[in-house]
């Protein structure tokens, strides 16, 4: 192998590594929400107590965030039929990213954990002071934290 070939191989390897690392970093970065359509095979019933503990954590870890109960909405289904009289969690229904339909004969847990959105705003003028106590921003950050904690449980085999 001559020097040129070796150089080309090194650059190609570095490029492939860069692409792979960027893709990996995006996968590893916690999202701001999870839309659930999880059957009992997807999330075993033994994991739900740990997930429920994350959802019930009080106070939230983000200063000024709302209680976590307002940042999720989950319903259990058996053979396509919603169980119980109401959803778990009090996330406003108009904040759900997807509607309430579930697959036919669905058995498992559905709906949403976290707001599921990341801030993309622009301030005019740009030097307008930060106002950390406004509610929506802390709720976005708390959503991300919830997703991180729930994902850790889901990935723990």
């Amino acid at each position: 192998m001559n020097n040129t070939t070796l150089g080309v191989v090194a650059v190609a390897a570095a490029g492939a590594g860069a692409v792979a690392t960027l893709a990996l970093s995006d996968l590893l970065t916690p999202k701001y929400g999870i839309i659930l359509r999880a059957t009992d095979q997807d999330i075993s019933p033994e994991k739900w107590p740990a997930i429920e503990a994350v959802l019930a954590r009080n106070p939230p870890v983000t200063p000024y965030a709302n209680a976590r109960v307002s940042l999720y909405r989950i319903r259990e289904f058996k053979d396509g039929v919603a169980q119980g009289n109401k959803d778990d969690g009090e996330m406003v229904e108009t904040q759900l990213l997807e509607d309430r339909r579930v697959p036919e004969h669905f058995t498992g847990h559905a709906f949403q954990i976290g707001v599921g959105a990341i801030e993309r705003s622009k301030k005019v003028p740009s030097q307008t002071p930060e106002m950390p106590q406004a509610h929506f921003r802390p709720n976005l950050l708390e959503s991300k934290e919830m997703v991180k904690e729930v994902t850790a449980i889901l990935e723990n085999n």
Binding site: L22, Y32, I34, D99, R100, G116, I118, S121, R137
Partner: protein, 182 residues
């Protein structure tokens, strides 16, 4: 220079590149201020000559199917000296990304236009059937004790926010034309 040295250099380059990307690639910024399309504007001190045109945008009908009326997607306080601020728009206070200024020492308009966020979520499991209202077939209603929401308004409101921001941003970015002399 031997073959071993070249291989070592290649491995070093690869490792350094990957390490750098791990360090910097994983720290995705919470908010970007570049050219990425914004979904919300937080404004203060809007030039008066642009104000009426911005109000036209805010008062227009929503163009995104199933989005709520635009008045639900903005909130404005207009501060004048000695008076409590006049309010317009019905964006839920819980959805504000920034607090409005206190009355003292500020005159002008303080505004949030649009929700100021874009979707960022995973579906679990990744293979789950998606039922986004814009892509789904005919609904099979969920037999539920709670009302069925056939349209996910939040996603529609995010789209409508983006459209409002585009239009208002275009007005703000126009260079001012001198007013005609009387």
């Amino acid at each position: 220079m031997g073959m071993k040295t070249h291989v070592l250099r290649a491995v070093s380059l690869f490792s350094a590149t990957s390490f750098g990307l791990i360090i910097f690639g994983c720290s995705k910024p919470e908010r970007l201020d570049g050219d990425e399309q914004k979904h919300g504007l937080i404004l203060r001190n809007i030039p008066e000559e642009k104000w009426n045109r911005i109000l036209e945008v805010l008062n227009a009908d929503s163009v995104t199917p199933d989005a709520t009326p635009r008045k639900k997607l903005f909130r404005i306080k207009t501060y004048t000296s000695g008076n409590p601020p006049a309010e317009m728009g019905e964006l839920d206070e819980e959805m504000l990304l920034g607090e409005f200024p206190s009355d003292q020492g500020f005159k002008g308009h303080a505004v949030q236009i649009g929700l100021g966020v874009k979707p960022d979520f995973d579906t679990y499991p990744a293979s789950a059937t998606r039922f986004a209202s814009e892509t789904s077939p005919a609904p099979s209603p969920e037999p539920s004790a709670t009302p069925i929401t056939l349209h996910a308004h939040f996603k529609q409101n995010l789209k409508e926010s983006q459209i409002m921001v585009q239009k208002v941003d275009a007005i703000l970015n126009e260079t001012s034309t001198p007013s005609p002399s009387p």
